[in-house]
């Protein structure tokens, strides 16, 4: 395997890691007003992802940085071309990140409800727009001979891409629900259990439509297999949720995300960003990648660092493995010094 191919796979892995991890963070955020009917429930929900959301978000930064280092042309075309959607994602991630840290720091219902809104919007917007962005990448967008995107903003809001956005929103929400079912007890857990089935079924329908559309367009044996496995995995997650095997349900919603992303990257290969203007202008693994030397340097760094990162992130999840519920909340609401003591 050429090093550039290896980096194509590695970037797929980074996006899988990002969507697996921040996917449930987003899901928890989207479900905040749905499940969190009381302040206690909302705090339980936010604290399930409290210790890990920031580390999860780094997967995005690394995916972006790795794309810059390994495929500069891809990074340049994608980020300058998808300008406004990325701006919206940035704004969403900014208000969401700040909201986690700041919402408990004033003892006022109005203050907290504003930050709750920030968490909701900050989770909803990227959940949809990541799907829109990836659907557009896979489908192909207008790119000229210089590798410059020429399509404008509204070209990105085509039906296929919007359906992609619905699918990622559904997948992340379902994944967030299985995560909450796994990490909480009491009322939050009960409501999460209920929602996995409902949201999961709707998502399954959207996902089958979207993957079917993708396959009819440019399907191959491999992507048929991964798509079918993705659908099976999602249905398996719903089944496990019904019998309250929370761990398995969570693993399977995560696997569904991984398989869906895999399908998209397999469809993309050997392109990284096909041009709908002229296939001759396609950005490919070959013409968008860095030099073999840079790829070699980055391969060493990735091979050494990735296992270390995986170990300490896994350890973090182990440290905070316990379920939490509204009964566990400290009696006094929001006096951060006393609760974190």
């Amino acid at each position: 395997m050429e090093l550039a191919d290896f980096w194509f796979v590695l970037i797929a892995v980074l996006w899988i890691g990002y969507f697996f991890l921040e996917g449930f963070d987003f899901g928890v955020g989207v479900l905040l007003p749905v499940i969190g009917k009381s302040e206690a429930e909302r705090r339980v929900m936010i604290n399930t992802i409290g210790p890990v959301w920031d580390g999860n978000e780094v997967w995005l930064l690394v995916a972006g940085g790795a794309t810059f280092a390994a495929f500069p042309e891809w990074y340049a075309t994608l980020f300058s071309g998808f300008y406004l959607p990325l701006l919206l994602i940035l704004v969403a991630l900014i208000i969401r990140g700040v909201a986690f840290e700041y919402r408990g720091k004033q003892d006022s219902a109005r203050w907290r409800s504003r930050w709750d809104l920030a968490i909701l919007v900050g989770s909803l917007v990227p959940s949809i727009l990541w799907g829109v962005a990836f659907a557009n990448i896979v489908r192909g967008v207008p790119i000229n001979a210089d590798g410059t995107y020429t399509g404008g903003f509204f070209n990105l809001l085509n039906p296929y891409a919007l359906l992609g956005g619905v699918v990622t929103l559904g997948l992340f929400t379902t994944h967030g629900a299985t995560f909450l079912a796994l990490k909480t007890k009491g009322s939050v857990r009960d409501k999460a259990h209920d929602l996995v089935g409902k949201v999961g079924l709707a998502t399954a329908v959207a996902a089958v439509l979207f993957l079917g559309w993708t396959l009819l367009d440019q399907g191959e044996v491999g992507t048929w297999i991964t798509s079918i496995l993705a659908a099976a995995s999602l249905l398996g997650a719903l089944a496990f949720d019904r019998v309250k095997r929370d761990g398995w349900a969570f693993v399977l919603t995560g696997l569904t995300i991984a398989l869906a992303v895999t399908t998209l990257f397999m469809t993309l290969y050997p392109n990284v960003m096909p041009s709908s203007t002229d296939p001759a202008f396609n950005l490919t693994i070959a013409n968008a990648s860095s030099t073999p030397y840079t790829l070699k340097v980055m391969t060493w760094v990735a091979l050494v660092m990735t296992p270390i990162v995986l170990v300490y992130q896994a350890w973090t999840f182990w440290v905070f493995r316990r379920r939490i519920g509204t009964d566990d909340l400290p009696p006094e609401p929001v006096a951060p010094e006393s609760v974190s003591a």
Partner: protein
């Protein structure tokens, strides 16, 4: 304004804003880790309370640093796609390394630190804040190596006969160690890190003074004041020494920048360092100039009689090398930002020294103006840092990568002025609103003072971790 000018404004606004938080994070992470180490070693309540108090301010600031940092990584591609295409083979590597080596470390371990107070054994919990602090410093190293490459590109190749005025192909990496370990990168890292300690020290000093003159929380604020003041003084010596070396490296690598810093048009020996001058803004004519003789020569060459090349000669040399174009930066901005950087930084050091004298041997002045001076001091290094970056980036113009790529050739082709306007307005308004929120929260927690907890509380919480406290509810 065209897309180029807008993109430059946007870069300046969001980068300077981001760099208000960064040095506080860099310095305060280490200081908090130091305080927690003191608690671990001595078991004294006062260190635990200090750790909690400064740790809270650290976290409020860190949250903003993190979220504004995401924009930093994205904007190279969004606004500067042609720059990204041209340098990606080299510039992308330190950015990716920063993520893999540093961001994961700081974010993951900071999460463990915030939520781990009564989940982790004391020693392990202490290790998490050190890991996070080290992560932030490693992150600074990689991003400064990337920036240093823009100041002084090394370890790369371009097409034979390459001309930056009429560029072809791209710059390709030939040696990563040249990029990461060139002296420009190492000295810039040292200068930035020491400046970060001045910044964090000033926050500590300023807040402590504010409390001390009101006779509040003396047990925590006296040691904090001393820690802050000594941090500033020691770090300021580091800033000055590294700044001197940086000026020399700059004279050698970017003579135009040094000449612009001094607004020296004609080459000469024994060039003075003017404290300020009155005349035309760009210094081409002046009516009054207060200067320290020979200091500019000394800064640049180690000798008071050293030769400093003037703007006109350098311009002629660059025209010969690259072809006809204007190679000089905006002289008034270069000249004044250089002075403001040094001036505001030095003032912070002066306040630190005076505080140590004023509060020596148990003295505790209560004049309110000292508290006000303390609050002002918090902002001095922030100004110095901002002007430092303004100088570093503005005085490199018209280059984005010195001698390789003109800034005008780096801007995105796909984006319209309307799009850049949109993002600039949206981000500026958002950043402005968040600044109000952050400052309000900072003020609230500063006024609240250190929490009333004891080491016994902390021990009990840890012992109870499996019973009634299954997880820290930090949010």
């Amino acid at each position: 304004m065209d897309a180029l000018e807008l993109a430059r404004w946007q870069f300046a606004i969001i980068t300077i804003y981001h760099f208000l938080m960064v040095p506080i994070t860099l310095g305060l992470a280490m200081l908090v880790a130091g305080l927690q180490t003191a608690w671990y070693r001595t078991g004294k309540d006062v260190y635990l309370r200090a750790t909690k108090f400064w740790g809270k301010l650290f976290l409020i600031n860190f949250a903003m640093g993190v979220v504004t940092g995401i924009v930093q990584e994205f904007q190279f591609g969004m606004n500067w796609s042609e720059y990204s295409r041209f340098v990606g083979d080299i510039f992308g590597a330190p950015l990716a390394m920063e993520g893999l080596v540093a961001f994961f470390l700081e974010s993951t371990f900071l999460g463990l630190w915030i939520f781990g107070w009564d989940r982790l054994p004391k020693k392990l919990h202490l290790a998490t804040i050190w890991a996070a602090a080290i992560g932030t410093s490693i992150s600074a190293f990689f991003i400064l190596a990337a920036n240093s490459w823009m100041q002084h590109p090394v370890g790369y190749r371009v097409d034979e006969g390459f001309s930056p005025l009429n560029p072809t192909g791209r710059a390709e990496l030939t040696n990563i160690f040249d990029v990461l370990l060139q002296k420009t990168a190492l000295i810039t890292f040292a200068h930035t890190l020491t400046a970060a300690f001045v910044t964090a020290g000033s926050l500590m000093l300023g807040v402590s003074l504010w409390h001390l003159v009101r006779q509040r929380h003396l047990d925590v604020m006296r040691p904090s004041m001393k820690l802050g003041a000594w941090t500033i003084i020691i770090a300021f010596v580091g800033v000055a020494v590294t700044g001197h070396f940086q000026a020399q490296v700059m004279t050698e690598q970017q003579p135009m920048k040094m000449a612009a810093a001094e607004a020296v048009y004609e080459t000469g020996r024994d060039v003075g360092f003017s404290l300020f001058s009155i005349g035309t803004l760009d210094g081409s004519e002046e009516t009054f100039r207060l200067e320290i003789p020979g200091l500019a020569s000394f800064l640049a060459t180690d000798s008071f009689n050293g030769e400093v090349e003037g703007i006109n000669d350098i311009q002629a040399g660059l025209e010969e090398q690259f072809g006809p174009a204007d190679y000089s930066p905006n002289i008034p901005i270069s000249y004044w930002s250089f002075r403001f950087m040094i001036g505001w930084g030095a003032l912070a050091a002066l306040v630190a020294a005076l505080s140590l004298i004023g509060f020596r041997g148990g003295r505790n002045p209560t004049s309110r103006w000292i508290g006000t001076l303390g609050v002002v001091t918090i902002f001095l290094p922030l100004l110095a840092n901002s002007f430092g970056w303004l100088f570093t980036e503005m005085a490199r113009q018209p280059w984005v990568v010195y001698g390789l790529q003109l800034t005008a050739n780096g801007v995105s082709l796909a984006t319209s002025p309307g799009e850049v306007w949109t993002s600039m307005i949206v981000l500026t308004l958002l950043y402005g609103a968040l600044a109000v929120v952050e400052v309000a929260l900072m003020v609230k927690y500063i006024k609240l003072g250190p929490p009333e907890i004891t080491s016994a509380d902390a021990d009990r919480a840890y012992d109870d971790r499996d019973n009634d406290q299954p997880l820290t509810f930090a949010y």
